[in-house]
Symmetry: C2
Subunit: 344 residues, 2 copies
């Protein structure tokens, strides 16, 4: 059933997955629409963002930067919502807000997690190109990766919400950009639409050789968001003084146990030393206070002038959110994945 005025559909975490999540790990529940107390607003979800980190919230032990979702509770997630009714001084019915209402039609908020969006022609952008994923790309690439003109930048998930922005900003800074993506369509899009210099198919068994051929001067910045075979292909190509911002490693999110040996931890340490590599993890939540204003200004300009292009992969209906996340973890999305929960 679609969103209604009378029922609050919620997608709960029904069981903790081991490995890739499946539909039985989620449960769609119908509840009453809650009523806001004093100082609260009632939100109606328009768009729900679907992002890789959500897989980590499904584990019993969370990723450290965010609390795990409890069994029987709604899945967490960023949302664009309309204020239905308000008992909060700073919000009015009809306001469009960015928040974290999670996987449900309606939610209450005390306003502390809400950002007013004003009038936006495309409100879902607040979850992608003007929101967390693009901000992740901006901080990781510019502040940690620090690409210089003429350097080679490699990024995987090249048409994803983060990777596409990493590559386009790197191009704006004069770097040569090599993307890696799943399949010919995505690779063509990365080169023809996003302006990547090269894009390689991650499914090609000769990926390592192709990457070496695509990076004749080695790799100066590798924006790590996937791990796995891509990192293995990148490591031997990293140049002296290379930078590796670590944003994620989606290839391992479904790992139940560590991969079989040999243990390559010492090998990585040796590479860091011999090549004077800086490898640095970051969590975007840490950077809003200092860098979000600069990001909004720069990104607004780049999107407005067409220098950065964005592609959304819109799935209709809250009930399809579980399949959307499952597909995302397998690379089935093409662009920033959002669920359109309501047409309001």
């Amino acid at each position: 059933m679609p969103q209604s005025d009378a029922v609050n559909r919620r997608v709960l975490l029904a069981a903790r997955p081991s490995g890739l999540p499946a539909p039985q790990h989620f449960r769609l529940e119908e509840a009453a629409v809650p009523a806001p107390g004093e100082g609260q607003v009632l939100l109606r979800t328009q768009f729900l963002s679907i992002d890789p980190y959500m897989r980590n919230l499904m584990d019993e032990i969370g990723p450290g930067y965010a609390a795990p979702v409890q069994l029987g509770e709604p899945m967490a997630g960023g949302t664009v919502s309309r204020v239905v009714s308000s008992r909060h001084a700073q919000f009015r019915a009809g306001d469009l807000v960015l928040g974290g209402a999670g996987w449900q039609d309606y939610a209450l908020s005390d306003g502390r997690d809400l950002t007013p969006l004003g009038q936006m022609a495309q409100p879902s952008l607040a979850l992608g190109g003007l929101g967390m994923p693009a901000f992740t790309a901006y901080v990781g690439l510019l502040d940690i990766g620090q690409p210089k003109a003429g350097e080679t930048v490699v990024v995987a998930a090249a048409t994803g919400a983060v990777g596409a922005v990493v590559g386009q900003i790197a191009r704006l800074k004069g770097a040569r950009v090599v993307g890696i993506a799943g399949g010919a369509d995505k690779c063509r899009y990365a080169v023809e639409e996003l302006g990547f210099d090269v894009c390689l198919d991650r499914r090609d068994p000769r990926l390592a050789e192709q990457l070496a051929a695509a990076c004749p001067d080695g790799i100066d910045v590798y924006f790590e968001n996937v791990g796995g075979a891509v990192f293995d292909a990148v490591l031997p190509l990293l140049n002296i003084g290379a930078r590796v911002p670590v944003c994620g490693f989606i290839a391992h999110y479904n790992d139940d146990t560590a991969p079989p040996g040999p243990d390559r931890l010492p090998l990585l340490t040796a590479a860091l030393l011999q090549k004077r590599i800086r490898m640095q993890g970051f969590i975007i939540l840490d950077h809003y206070a200092e860098r979000f204003d600069a990001f909004r200004r720069d990104m607004g300009e780049w999107i407005g002038s067409g220098r950065v292009k964005l592609r959304e992969d819109v799935v209709d209906g809250l009930e399809n959110a579980p399949q959307a996340l499952i597909g995302l973890l397998q690379g089935r999305n093409f662009g920033k994945l959002v669920v359109r929960v309501a047409e309001v």
Copy 2:
């Protein structure tokens, strides 16, 4: 036989070791003392520095930052030498110089690799407390580790040429310093003489628990010079925002193959991300131009005022250099290891 005026004893690389080097991998040869050509000086070795990186030069494929020693060639190494005779405009007989004459009594140089030492009361300091090892500690700790007052710094090989200086500089900067060293004598020395807050015995099977107990506020800076079990104990204790300068990993220098699984490379990447850790390798050769003057000024002051103490482990006789290196790789030295080649 001791050093003489007539014979040049040289310690050659006789065979490439697999694992820990043994005496048969070295060969002591006697050759004629060479005569300097135009623009050259003849050097007589006083002190030879013995350092962990030398193990890496014994492999067929070098460590990248320096060429491997060829079979039948003298082992490479930093030296303090006296100029015996000079056909070079900038050097005179009797000058004391820092250079890289390697494991031999005499060597020729065109002067480009030589630094005049002037009059030094303790010339071997140019190989330790005022030289490469202490400079390694200085750059790695201050420029990459960036300890703040009140933070916790952990360093292994705590009484070694690098570790002892790391710990003492960290104390000067107001950090709490936890050392790890091999055996009770070294640990006592680190605490009582060098001023470390705590020093743990790396041989204790409960090292991991003891380290956790010694770092109640976690670890903010881990100066990596050993790897192995020490790194394994450190990793879970690293704080959010920790810095890990990677200077070496002596525990693995004798590895023939990668250790058995599971493969913990993804686990390290996950830790870097979740804790926003910066892990950065460095090779001290890169930093002389920019930082050596500041190091000499600061370190000269700290040594002069007694705020940084240095201990040398002096082995007599070039013929004992192989055993000295073999012992160093097993942690048998106690302080900066140098071979006194001649009393000149």
